[in-house]
Every structure is written in structure tokens, then in C-alpha cells.
Amino acid sequence: MRNKLLFLIVIQNLITLNLYAGRLHGTIFDAADRSTLPTASVYVEGRIDAGTEADDNGKYSLNLADGKYTICCEFLGYQKQTVEVKVKGNTTLNFAMETSTEQLGEVVVKANSSREVLEAPQMSVARLEVKDLKRMPAIFGEQDVIKSLQLMPGVKAESDASGGFQVRGGEASQNLVTLDGATINNAGHLLGFFPAFNPDILRDVTLYKGAMPAQYGGRTSSVLDINTISGDYEKFGGDAAIGLLASKFDLKGPIVKDKLTYYVSARRSYADLFLKATEDLKNTTLYFYDINAKISYKIGNRDYMFLSFFNSKDNFGMKDLGKILWGNTVGTGKWWHQFNNQTDLSSTLFYSRYHSVMGMDISEISIDYNGKNAQLSLNEDLRWKPDSCHTLHMGWQSSYYDVVSSDWTNNGIREKEERYGLENALWVNDEWKITKRLSASYGLRFDIFSVLGGSPYYDIDLTTGDIINTHNYASGDVVENYCNWEPRLSANYKLNQHQSVKASYSRSSQNVHTIKESITSMPVDRNTLTSNYLKPETADQFSVGYAATIANEKKNQDDAYSIETEIYYKKMGNVTDYREGLQNETYTESDRLLVQGEGRSYGWEINIKKNHGKLTGWISYTLSKTESQIDQLNEGRWYLANSDRRHSINIVAMYSLSKHWDVSAAWTFNSGQAFSLPTAKYEVNGQTVYYYANKNNYRTPNYHRLDLSATRHGKQHPHWQGEWAFGLFNAYGRYNPFMINLKEDKESLTGTKAQQISLFSFVPSVTYRIKF
């Protein structure tokens, strides 16, 4: 019996080997600029089990038995290609994709294509094609990736004055934002009024709201993976835009044709130039700028590398009064090497530094508050596709952190807390097509964070926050190690051609903690690292979901409408908040300020989309609740987290009026944000003091807003094309709550009044762009 079984296994393997003797592989690239198209889909027509996605470098590989096939290649914003091919052994087939003007007119922001939604094992993913982003309503005529993502279910804006976003009850600082693989901290201009990332140089944007592949880690809420274009290997080009407050240009072109290309992109606001013309504000500094540059080099068929640089700065100041500035400096080098058609290795080295300065210089008072969050990382990711059913990622990342939580100079006296940490992570992840209907992405990440010496560490009294003992460790000494095993699993079962069900579980951890100044993130928020006192934050998330497409046979549309719905439950460990009575500046020592506990977030999301026709768009709804429990706060009772929003609705509509005109509208509704309202008042030293018996016991009024935009595409000239973009942010002028203050009011009977402060009424904008 045993021999029979062995025989059967050998025969089966021989058959399998014979079946997959052939391999089809190649590169998918933009026919115009020859930039590669990662995540483009390649599949055998009519065979749902025989398909794959292009990798980060636009390369794909498909195991097929020798024979004739009809191969399809699809990518959002490009015309679908169908090619007849005869596969014999190793066969190369490249796709030069033409942009689809028709499709561009129809699709604006589109999460995964319907095919991906139904078949990809990874759930809770929103992928944004930047080509499709460009007609979203936008403030100041600039399209904003982050604001567009905030129209997806489960993703919300922190406030009107923040570039931060919250995913499924997480904080903005719990999102990992990467630009070409490098971590970016607190990006955003003019307090989030202006987009952090220049949309013209972005290639694709992927947001993992829940289970993320094991390659990603270091944050507990989500991963926002942003990649920029390579440049243009074929011809020189670019565009320029002039807006009311800022202008920009992008240039790209070949240095060595089809080998070496570059792009450089820069933006600067010029409100300060107008201010200089006014007598009152001529000594005011107010500007931001950012620069992106990248050089990409195709070394051969099997090697590719790029060097990229990102620098941004926001600077506001008034002479003889004060200043606030912040910025990012990021340098990244990446080398991709393909060993064979099954195996490749991506090596990424980056340095990312965020810094903020806030100063005041009045009369005899001179104060400077500095902060820094720097990271140097090396990441190795080996991808191996042993057969058409498995795609494995194995790798490690080593990151060195240098975080200044406080560097305060107060009238010449300097206090500083600078801490260091080393984080090493190993992972393995497999994307497995188990059967024709069932697929899964599963993996394990092992994270070890070493708290490093070189700065004092303290034993802290848990109740009072007082320092009991101080420990001084030599630079480089390991103070403590924290290990986290992080399993990741996401599975998809396709019920039929139009429906699938999904389930996922993931665990993640975070060792960079942000000490938020108020309910919205600020550029001057302090950052600190896990220490002997502060433990790593963790999150365990479970999700189940259902996805379906509805065909319109009359119009021959397979996915005229699509529906996605998910339920999630997230359990959070070592949730961090301020100790009672303390705030950002009470102590230099960050550990003294903070207490930790647990949290939970759960919710239901649904999104219904219309995918084709002149009118496209979607309606999404999220019902959710997020709470925290920390022994030292709120008498140990659970309280609503600041990020809690009960209901959230987004309605997005895009309409192609004519060849020249596109219009769009987006309406957003969010339940009010939880905040603490006093329950009593009293007087001490002649001043009114409020007593807060319950934390976050109240909600601000609801937030809702309508944004409109219209784009007029000018005539296509031989070498250039112009475009006018008109926008109206908050079209019906709703005064949404930004903050609520309590004021003494001697005229009222109670002596107290609550005042809501709103930032915006409606904001019109106009921008002229020229593309060459």
C-alpha cells in the first residue's frame, strides 16, 4: 500500500513537471515613456487559475505547459492587450501598453480592478492609480492622494488642518507611509492644506487597511506604499502648473536612451512674496517647498537600480516674535537583481529624517523647541516563484533609529532627550493559489527591537510618573530587547465568476510612539521610542469580507457595478496616552508623560461602485467604534478614543461632459469627533477651572462637506497641451468644527460659553497646467 502511494506521488509530480515545462515571462511597460508598469495583470484568457501580476519592476512570469495560448494584459488607464502566443520552454513576451484616453475619461479613483477584488488573496487593500487621481476635487487646484484615500471606507481625515489620516480607528502616526520604500514621517504642507506628495511624479499608491503581507511592518494601523515614476527612457518631457498660492514644474527624460533616465520635480508656495508687499506682514515668513529627484538605471535585463531624493520644508515665522518650521529629508537607493525567472532580490537602503522647530523670541524670553525622528534602514527582499501557484517573499530589514523627543532651549538652558534603537525584522510570506477558487497570502514576521544606551533611562512610578531610579547605559549598550511574532493570513474563496468571500488575520507592532499635542496631529508633536518603560504598541486585526461584481450584459460590461463589504475587529495592546494632568511640555523625559493600556476598534464597511460609462463613482458607508482603557485614566473605565467616529459616508461622482470638460463632486460625512467636556467648574486663584469627570464624553457636531471640480482639457498641440483646473472646496460653506473652546462669558447666566472654531468656509481655486 505504502509503495503504491509513493508511486502515485512520483507519477503526479512527473505529470506536474511535464505540465509546467514551459514558462512565459517578460516586461510590461508604458509604450510612450517605456516606464515599467508594476502590478499590471497578465492572464490566459478564459482561465482564472493562470494569471499573475507584474512585480515592482514590471516583470512577470507565468508557468504554462507548452502550447498555444491567448494572453491578456490589463492595467488601469491603459488599453487591454490580447496576444496569441506559442509557449515552448522559456518564452519571452513583452507588452508595450498604450494609454487609454477613453478609459482615463471614465475612471478617476479606482480601487483594485474588479478582477483583483475578486481574486487577490489580500483583503482590505485600496490601490489608487495616480493617472486616475487627477480629476478629484482638490483644494488650491492640487490633487491630493491622502485626501482621495480619505474617500475610501474605513479611512478618515484627522481634521481640516492636518495632512494625517486615520484607518480603522488607528491614529495617523500608526500609519506606515513609504515613498519608494523609504519611511516618511508627518508629510504635509501648510498643515495639510496642501498635498504632501506631488501627484505628477507618483506612479501608484497602495493602502493596506488590515492584513498586510509580512514584508511590511513597524506600524500598527495601516501601510501606505507610494511609488514614484522612473522618468522617461525615450523622450524629454514635463509639465508646469501655476496656481494661486504655489507653482511647480516636473522634468523627465533620458540621459542614455532606454538605459538611464531621470526626473526632477519641485514646488514652492509664494504667499510670502505677496506678504512682503504689505506693510503689516512684510517681516513674515510663510512658505513651503519640496523637491523630488530620481535617477533610474537599467543595467541589463536582470538588473535595475535607482537613487531618489526627497526634501521638503515648511517655514512660518514672524521677525522678533516666533517661528515654526518642519521638514523631511529622505535619500533612497534601490537595486533589483534577477537571478533567474523564478528568483529576484530587491535591496533598499534609505535614510529618512524628519525635524521640527518651534521658537519664540520676545523681549527677554527666548525659547526653542526642536524634535527629530531619523531612521537608517537596509531592506533585503528575496522573491521566489517556484511554480505558478506560489510567490514567496523572504527577507529582513534592519533599522537604526535616532529620535529626539525634546531638545528645548529656554533662555540659554538646554534640556534634551535623544534616544536610539535598533529594529531587526525577518519575514517570509507566500501568496498561494491553492485551488481554482481558493487563494491565500500567509506569512510570519519576527520583529526584535533593541532599546539602545547613550541616553538616560528611568524607573518610573506608575501612579505618579515620578522618576524612581536613573540608569545610564553606554552608547550602543542594549538596555532591553522586545520580540514580537507577527503572523499574517489573508484568504480569498471565489464563490463563482462574480462573487468571493475573504477572511484575514494579522498582528503588527510599533516602536516609534508619537506624543500627540491635541486631538489632531501637529508638526511639532513629539516622537519617542520604545524604552524600558514604554512597551511596543501592538494590534491584532480580524476581518471577513464579501465582494461581488454585477454585469451589464446589454453594454457588455462584466463589472458594471462592484460591491465590497468587510467587518473588522482590532484589538490593540499598549495603547499610549497622556498621564492625567500632563501634556506635551510638562517634562523633557517622555516616559514620565505617558501611560499605556489596551484598545479595541470594530466596524463594518461597504462600498458600491459604478465602474463604467460617462458617470462613474461610488458610495461608501462605515459604521465603527474605537475605545481605549488605561488604568490611570478615566478611573480605569473604557473611553472613546479621539479617532472614534460612529458613521462615515462618502459619495463620489465623476462625469465626463465632453471631450474637453470633466466634472466631479465628492461629499463626505463623518460623525463628530469624541472630546472631553467638563462636568463641573470651580475657581482657584481667581481663575475658573473646569473639572473633567469623564474622558471623551462628548462629540463635536457632525462634519460634512461637498467639494466640486471641473477640468478643461485644452487643444492638443504638437508639443504641448494646456489645462485649466477649477475647484471649490466646501461648496456650501459648512462651518465644520475644528476645535471647541470654553470661554468665560460674563454676559450669560452661567458665566461660561462653548465656542466652536471652524477653519474654512468655501475655498475656490484655479490652476493652469501645461504639459509638454
Binding site: 510663510l286 523681549s363 462636568t679 463641573a680 486663584n685
Partner: protein, 283 residues
């Protein structure tokens, strides 16, 4: 004091106004929770007197009730052997029957009993200080804006960390209050700056007053107003109380009180006070 949160919020509001059609403020009607009223203690042992004032918290929808609670039993003891029960005076304050005063370096303990409520607090009186001078000046901050500032100076006791509370009274009413510590100043002259008012608003208010307008603006110091500067050397727990009190509303936090016991709020402070009076003459 430098309230970073408030300053930053102001910058945001300024930006919003500059960049858009303007920010907006409106009054909200809120439905406040209510809780049982708590005792509020404001106790002091100073180089001038021992004085405790006890009230109760008020609901948010009521007027601030300052009716004194005069039925409490209050005992003050000192690490130097001082021990006395205070007696309620006609003005509702509790005073030392022996008219005792505090001594520098002595740790005082307050014990309050009122029905079932028992609260205790401790505070140590710092070393003496002496207020030296208060200097007013106009500070130009933009081309046509000038701010009246007042720098107050006193001698800072050497070789120790010191913490201060400054109260400026205008015609008997508290006008401004501020705290600081002596980092960088030990053994030299300590200084605190108060921002008073803008020149435009002051000139406008003076004009109206001369024109016979009786309405006194609360945020203006007029020529002829009587000012009292009261600098108090306080201990660290009291400093932390006032520090957190300054963020009470903006950060929605309860001040870190040195009073222990359920049902009691407030602060107990042993402090050394130095005062100066002046009649304001602006120009």
C-alpha cells in the same frame, strides 16, 4: 508662560484666515453631564497669614457658586511642631486663631474633615524672596503693532531650584497670572514677562474713557489704575498644579492636585510672598 498648543492653534487660525475666506467662531449649546458636587480647597500658608477657602464645584449650566463652606474642620500642622485648628471668619475664610504665619523650610500639612469627606495635603514653604522692580515697555512686533509688556524682577535664592507664581492685580482684581521656574537664573535675578495689551486697544480705551464712557475694558490697564505685583515662591507640587491648570481647558486635563482624598479638588500651598504696589502711568 509659553503655551505651545495655544500658540500653534493661533498660527493655524491665522493661516486659515490668510489662505481662505476666513475662519469662523460660533457659540454652541451643549448638554453637559452633571456629577455630585465636590469640595474645592484653596489653602495657603504664607509669610503673611494662614488662610483656607472652601467652596463646592458648580454644574456647568449654573453660575459659578462661590458660597463658602464654613462647616469643615481644618487642622494645619507643621514639621516644626506647629499645630492648630483654623476657625471660619465672617468673610467665609478659615484663619489661624493665633494669627500664625508660615516659616521658610517648614513642611505644612492640611487636614480637612467635612461630614464623611476627609482630605489631606502637604506643602513646604520655600526660602524668602524680594521683589525688586517691574518695568513696562512697548514692544514692536510688526510694523504698526506694539505690545505693552511688563518685565518683573526679583532675587532668586542661590543653589536651589525655585518655582514662582506671579499675580498682577488691577484695582484689587486679578488681571494676569503666570508661573515659571528659575532654570538658568539660580543665584541671580529672576525675571518674568507679562504681555499686557496692544497700544491700539489701549489708546482707544483711554480715548473712550476721556470721552466719558464708563465701561471699563477688563483687558486694559488704564492710567491711574492701582497695580499690585505679588510674586510667590512656591514648592514644586504647587508649581505643577498651576502649570497643569494653565492647560486645563486647552488640553482638557484636570490639574495635578496635591490634595489627597476622594471628593476634594484644589490646591494647598505654603509660599513666600513679596509684593509691590504702583499707580500705572502709561504713555
Amino acid at each position: 508662560m509659553f503655551d505651545m498648543n495655544t500658540k500653534f492653534i493661533n498660527i493655524i487660525l491665522g493661516l486659515a484666515t490668510l489662505l481662505t475666506l476666513g475662519s469662523c467662531k460660533k457659540t454652541l449649546e451643549l448638554d453637559y453631564d452633571t456629577v455630585p458636587r465636590k469640595l474645592v480647597i484653596e489653602g495657603s500658608v504664607s509669610n503673611e497669614e494662614i488662610k483656607v477657602f472652601v467652596t463646592r464645584t458648580s454644574n456647568m449650566t449654573d453660575t459659578l457658586d462661590k458660597t463658602p463652606v464654613t462647616t469643615a474642620q481644618i487642622e494645619i500642622t507643621g514639621s516644626d511642631g506647629y499645630d492648630e485648628f483654623l476657625e471660619a471668619g465672617e468673610d467665609g475664610y478659615y484663619y489661624s486663631p493665633k494669627q500664625a504665619i508660615g516659616k521658610a523650610g517648614v513642611t505644612y500639612t492640611l487636614k480637612l474633615t467635612e461630614n464623611d469627606t476627609v482630605c489631606t495635603a502637604q506643602s513646604t514653604m520655600p526660602n524668602p524672596i524680594e521683589l525688586d522692580s517691574a518695568v513696562f515697555s512697548w514692544l514692536p512686533i510688526m510694523s504698526d503693532i506694539e505690545i505693552r509688556i511688563c518685565n518683573i524682577y526679583w532675587k532668586d535664592p542661590a543653589d536651589e531650584s525655585n518655582y514662582y507664581l506671579l499675580n498682577l492685580y488691577r484695582n484689587g482684581e486679578l488681571f494676569k497670572s503666570n508661573i515659571n521656574d528659575d532654570s538658568g537664573m539660580t543665584g541671580e535675578v529672576a525675571n518674568m514677562m507679562l504681555s499686557i495689551m496692544s497700544r491700539n486697544e489701549w489708546e482707544d480705551a483711554e480715548k473712550k474713557k476721556k470721552a466719558g464712557d464708563d465701561k471699563i475694558k477688563e483687558d486694559i490697564i488704564y492710567n491711574g489704575d492701582t497695580l499690585v505685583f505679588d510674586v510667590r515662591a512656591i514648592d514644586l507640587p504647587t508649581y505643577l498644579y498651576y502649570n497643569s491648570m494653565s492647560y486645563n481647558e486647552s488640553s482638557a486635563i484636570n490639574p495635578t492636585s496635591n490634595i489627597k482624598g476622594d471628593g476634594c479638588l484644589g490646591v494647598f500651598s505654603a509660599y513666600y510672598s513679596s509684593k509691590r504696589n504702583m499707580i500705572y502711568r502709561g504713555e
